[in-house]
């Protein structure tokens, strides 16, 4: 890359940049150069770039306005390929070698944008234009939407996977200080010296906040020396964590705050510091870190935002915040213009005029709306030969892609009055200051109230709802002296709230002087009608003007939240940090109300945009969600079984042989179970030990069947209902001893059911003596199913007789099988003779292998979840969550036989509600496709009449559907309104891209309806 030799706007000296480290970067493909310590914005200004974007709607050329988080215009696409980041303000990008920045607006380019035609028609593109225009005809919205979406947004999200790493970090502290300016440093120092655990977070690369751009001195020395001294003292405290490049972006309930730390804000190429001042690592794979902090006390010292002034064409490149200009000069050593006009309604901008003059620029005039001008600072400005026009305003501006001059008029202090231009002043830079708005975002997110201050003309933090304090400029402090004193006060207050003793200390000395108060100047009246004059911008990013807000008010919008949504005031990536208060003031004026009556919109996290990557943290790829594996998992993998994702579990789906596909493998596995023997890993079922003197009473209330009547050694199919009477979970209830039961649950219900049972025991029935213990992980369940299954067990050697009389269907025994202790259940989910072997998971793999070996002569076939589904559907066994959806009662499923009439149980009374006894409720039925070939997609809707006009009434839906190898045709289970009484009738399955298919309603049992086989 060729590097131009000069940075035309770089001052020969000054700033906190490292002039020995030149950094090459590109801007829209053009090679540029900056220094270490630059932001992209300061480097662009140094390179003479003034046009950085086009506005959202009107496509007006825009330049850099601010120097921090408030920047609305310089929104860039940073980096390329997978590491590209859209939506990034250039003011918040730390410059690095090789940075690639692109503008995100303007086609074909930012300097010539065909969309600028919108500006010509700007008058018809007022507030609500989209709502009013794209409503009709309604069916066209799908076309409008495409076009509108293309023109929205800033940049493009990369299509490739993110190569960067992100991580989360949890932290606790006594005091979290948000913002490392003078007040924050003072507060952190006070808290740390008093022995509190402190976290100090600041979004900038170095601590100091506004001091970094200031020429003020502290304790008789440059402020930088004080910052360095405080920094090194805090680093010495073992209980103090210093986070630079770290934005506190969310203040949530219970003093829980979220911070994003930019560890390597350079696409990972150079590595950034993690903790400020720590040695930088050569390899730092973490790009951003999300800190999740629980703080006992929070001190908010986030400073304030300077407000723009509202006048005609105030959005032209070259119009900047006065504070930003001071930052360019003092912090970055760049001079953004040669001949400046400073326009203000308060004293602070005089500093900028002085900074400009001291840096060698010409200050054509300070235009001060106040008749009395500034106090001490006015004297200092005049000393430098700067003309001060008191009682004047800038009313309009010339220049399109760069400001060329301003019109200055006399000001009568009345915004309804028309201003006649009196003087024209040529300039290439306008520095504006409309006063300061404290950054009350976090205070407000925490639920705190705001109070309007009529003297300082801003909203100040009032009562807090959580344990937080505000201090410094964010609390209304206006001078450095006030900031330091307020930081000290907040630090001491936080420490005393913690019950610690605050150390005796005082704030360092500054050299304060008198300032004159700010004057209200919410908009400068135009020479013509405010609704027809040149545009007076309030929200630069959304092109919201004074006329838009007035229009919204005329059209009946009164509430500031409605006006926001109608005019887009305060939307966008900057969330109105620059323009919101001005907008509310204009709305208040239009409505004839006071500003506090209009109020603010709601402050919500995030304070500044946060990447999706850091939200995900480490939970990506193989760590996206836990993968739970059974004790036999490695055997399944070695056998080449594709895995089915069942919640967090991985279960073998089918076991293909010789390249079989799913259908071939499942057909073979099904026939093997029906004709010989198969083996399945059912270990994911939930298992609960329930014991105690009151266990019978407890289970009677939970399950619907007669639990007390179960003899020791008996099993029962048990269902439990929610209080609404709907089927919640099912499983096997086994009575192992007089007062001990073994319960199984569905795979997905394991944790919920245990929680449900504990909830009843702990909160509703504490009198019942029952202890529950989860055994899901302790025992593995191997299901051996098929007519030959008993012979396989006989081969293994079992210490108890396994014949049908000794171990009949639905019984359970402790046994030793192949030398290993097991609990043997004679239960069946396939309809065949079957045994479920529960064994300690440590032995499960050995038992599995032993069974496979013993079953070899019967061609024992491992089978997966798909075959299990087919086998159970052939028998009409439902799966909770597949054939039911939380709105299905046991009666709907034909399970009346399970509902004991001799006791009460959870959900019983709900079953008597009128809605639960309707005869046209959806009921479980079987379906057979008329063509005996079509496998209906699960979820297919069923309709009565194939040709009915839309909306077609639906009478049911398919819940389970499979090809049945044993039966030779497809089968399906469905829920159909009044279905049980409709057996033999035909309904139609609505299928995509083909005619509705007639299907016959049948009983939901397709195989061995008498159940002889499982009793064999």
């Amino acid at each position: 890359m060729t590097i131009p030799a000069v940075q035309p706007n770089r001052l020969p000296r000054g700033g906190r940049i490292d002039r020995t480290r030149r950094l090459a970067f590109t801007f829209d493909g053009k090679p540029c150069e900056g220094f270490a310590g630059d932001t992209l914005a300061s480097a662009l200004i140094a390179n003479g770039v003034s046009l950085v974007g086009r506005s959202f709607k009107l496509r007006r050329p825009r330049g850099i306005v601010g120097s921090g988080a408030e920047e609305p215009n310089a929104i860039m696409q940073i980096g390329e390929g997978a590491a590209a980041q859209p939506n990034v303000p250039a003011t918040q990008v730390e410059l690095y070698e090789g940075l690639v920045a692109r503008t995100t607006r303007g086609w074909p380019g930012v300097s010539f944008d065909v969309g600028a035609i919108n500006d010509v028609f700007g008058r018809v593109l007022g507030a609500g234009f989209y709502y009013k225009t794209f409503m009709y005809p309604r069916s066209w919205w799908r076309y409008y939407e495409h076009a509108i979406r293309r023109s929205a947004g800033f940049g493009h999200a990369p299509g490739e996977p993110d190569q960067d790493r992100y991580e989360h970090m949890n932290a606790h502290c006594d005091v979290l200080v948000a913002g490392g300016g003078p007040a924050g440093l003072m507060a952190a120092l006070t808290a740390a010296r008093s022995g509190a655990r402190v976290i100090l977070a600041d979004e900038q690369t170095e601590f100091g906040g506004s001091l970094l751009a200031s020429t003020e001195s502290i304790a008789g020395a440059p402020a930088a020396e004080w910052i360095a001294a405080v920094g090194s003292e805090l680093r010495e405290h073992p209980d103090c964590t210093l986070l630079s490049r770290s934005t506190v972006f969310g203040y949530h309930d219970h003093n829980f705050l979220t911070i994003v730390e930019r560890c390597a804000d350079d696409g990972g190429s150079s590595g950034g510091g993690t903790v400020e001042g720590s040695p930088q690592s050569a390899v730092n794979p973490v790009r951003e870190r999300l800190w999740r902090v629980r703080a006992r006390q929070v001190i908010l010292t986030q400073g304030s935002f300077e407000r723009p002034l509202v006048f005609c064409n105030n959005d032209r490149p070259g119009v900047m915040l006065a504070s930003a200009v001071s930052a360019w000069i003092n912090r970055y050593g760049v001079l953004p213009g040669r001949r400046a006009v400073v326009f203000t309604n308060n004293d602070s901008a005089y500093r900028t005029a002085i900074d400009l003059a001291d840096a060698g620029a010409e200050v054509a005039a300070i235009v001060d709306s106040r008749g009395g001008g500034a106090a001490e600072l006015g004297r200092r400005a005049r000393e430098r030969g700067i003309a001060v026009l008191e009682g004047h305003v800038v009313s309009d501006l010339t220049g399109r892609r760069r400001v060329r001059g301003v019109s200055v008029a006399k000001w009568y202090g009345e915004s309804r009055a028309t201003v006649s231009p009196a003087i024209r002043i040529d300039c290439d830079l306008v520095c504006m200051s409309g006063g300061y708005s404290p950054a009350v975002h976090l205070h407000s997110q925490a639920g705190g109230r705001l109070a309007w201050d009529d003297e300082r003309l801003c909203f100040l933090p009032a009562e807090s709802r959580q344990a937080n304090l505000s201090a410094g400029a964010g609390n209304g402090s206006q001078s450095l002296e006030e900031c330091l004193a307020d930081g000290l006060r907040a630090g001491k207050e936080a420490v005393s709230r913690l019950g610690l003793k605050a150390v005796a200390m005082s704030a360092p000395a500054t050299s304060p002087f008198a300032e004159n108060p700010i004057e209200a100047l919410w908009r400068v009246p135009a020479a013509r009608d405010p609704d027809r004059c040149a545009k007076q911008f309030i929200d630069f990013q959304n092109d919201t003007t004074v006329a838009d807000i007035r229009l919204a008010a005329r059209e009946g919008y009164r509430n500031v939240e409605h006006v926001k949504r109608y005019t887009a005031l305060g939307f966008g990536t900057d969330q109105g940090k620059l323009g919101n208060i001005n907008g509310m003031a204009v709305l208040a004026e239009t409505l004839g109300k006071a500003i506090p009556e209009v109020g603010t919109t709601t402050f919500r996290p995030a304070y500044t945009p946060v990447s999706f990557g850091v939200g995900a943290g480490e939970s990506v790829g193989e760590l996206y969600d836990p993968v739970r594996k059974t004790a036999v998992h490695e055997w399944h993998e070695a056998a080449g079984a594709p895995m089915e994702v069942v919640g967090q579990w991985r279960r073998p789906w089918y076991f293909p042989r010789n390249g079989e596909d799913l259908h071939a493998a499942v057909a073979r596995e099904c026939l093997a179970v029906r004709n010989s023997v198969g083996l399945m890993d059912a270990s994911t079922l939930g298992k609960i030990d329930a014991c105690g003197p009151d266990v019978i009473e407890f289970l009677e209330r939970i399950y619907t069947h007669d639990v007390a009547g179960m003899k020791v050694g008996r099993c029962a199919y048990g269902i439990m209902l929610g209080e609404d009477g709907m089927l919640m979970d099912d499983g096997v209830v086994a009575r192992l001893a007089e007062h001990r039961f073994y319960l199984t649950t569905t795979t997905g219900g394991a944790a919920n059911v245990l929680g449900w049972l504990e909830k009843w025991l702990q909160t509703e029935w504490p009198d019942l003596q029952v202890y529950l213990t989860s055994l899901t992980e302790q025992y593995s369940t191997l299901a051996l199913a098929g007519p030959e299954s008993r012979k396989v067990l006989d081969r293994l050697g079992c210490n108890i007789p396994l014949d049908n009389d000794s171990l009949p269907f639905m019984t359970v025994r402790q046994a030793v099988l192949a030398g290993m202790p097991v609990t043997l259940f004679r239960v069946s989910f396939s309809g065949e003779l079957a045994f479920e072997i529960n064994i300690a998971s440590d032995l499960a793999l050995a038992m599995w292998k032993t069974l496979m070996e013993a079953g070899r002569e019967f061609d024992i076939t491992p089978y997966g979840t798909e075959t299990m589904h087919v086998l159970r559907a052939e028998k009409g066994f439902v799966i909770v969550g597949q054939d039911t959806d939380g709105s299905v009662t046991p009666v709907d499923l034909g399970m009346n036989w399970l509902l004991s009439k001799n006791k009460d149980f959870l959900g019983r009374r709900s079953l008597g509600r009128p809605d639960c006894v309707r005869e046209d409720r959806k009921q479980l039925v079987g379906l057979l496709s008329s063509d005996a070939a079509t496998v209906l997609p699960e979820g297919t809707q069923l309709i009565e009449e194939p040709g009915s006009p839309p909306p077609v009434p639906m009478c049911g839906h398919v819940t389970s559907s499979y090809r049945s190898a044993h039966l030779g045709h497809p089968i399906a289970l469905a829920l159909v309104a009044g279905g049980r009484a409709r057996r033999g009738e035909t309904v139609y399955a609505a299928l995509p891209k083909r005619d509705p298919l007639p299907v016959r309603i049948v009983a939901p049992v397709f195989y061995d309806a008498g159940g002889q086989r499982q009793h064999a």
């Binding site: 949890n170 730092n284 973490v286 939970s619």
Partner: protein, 203 residues
Amino acid sequence: MPGDNVNMPETSERRPRLETLVGTAESVDDARVEIQVLPDRGFLNLRLDPRHDDGIAAAARVLGQALPLAANTFTTGVHRVYWCGPDEWLIDADVERTASLRSELAGALTDCHAAINDVSSGHAAFGIVGNDARIVLAKGCTLDLDPRAFGAGQCARTNLARATVLLAIADDPPGCKIIVARSFADYLHRWLALAARQRDASS
């Protein structure tokens, strides 16, 4: 309960629970943090009413050490006994001793409302040691892990990343034991290895 009255055979059939894990995730081992796959232990889950003084005393006699009654603490003797809830403890014992300990406890508590379950197979354990161990854990655990808030002799059932675990801090030797449900062991091991590697790279 399953396995009642039958002692677990210590046959060659039983394989180390985490055998398949060793080597699957990059192990991190340096002065600052080390992740250890711990040898199998036996675990018994005990539920017992803490107000039942006789039962508490009987259990302590069998165990040869007290049941911790203070929340989130554990006692160390021949075994470790972790407080898991007001009426629940996890006993961490030698694998060979577990079955006999279980029957002795059952015998001693026949007159009490109690539940004693062998849950050895359902648990696996990792160790994390080194100066940065707490920092690695803090990436995935929302508890305050500062030694002043969570020090030696304390334990907690909590979440580590997306797994439910029992964390126990010891000082002899110093480090943290992480007991996790068997099926989550592979996931947790991968997470621990990644968290330790990233720590390694970023500090």
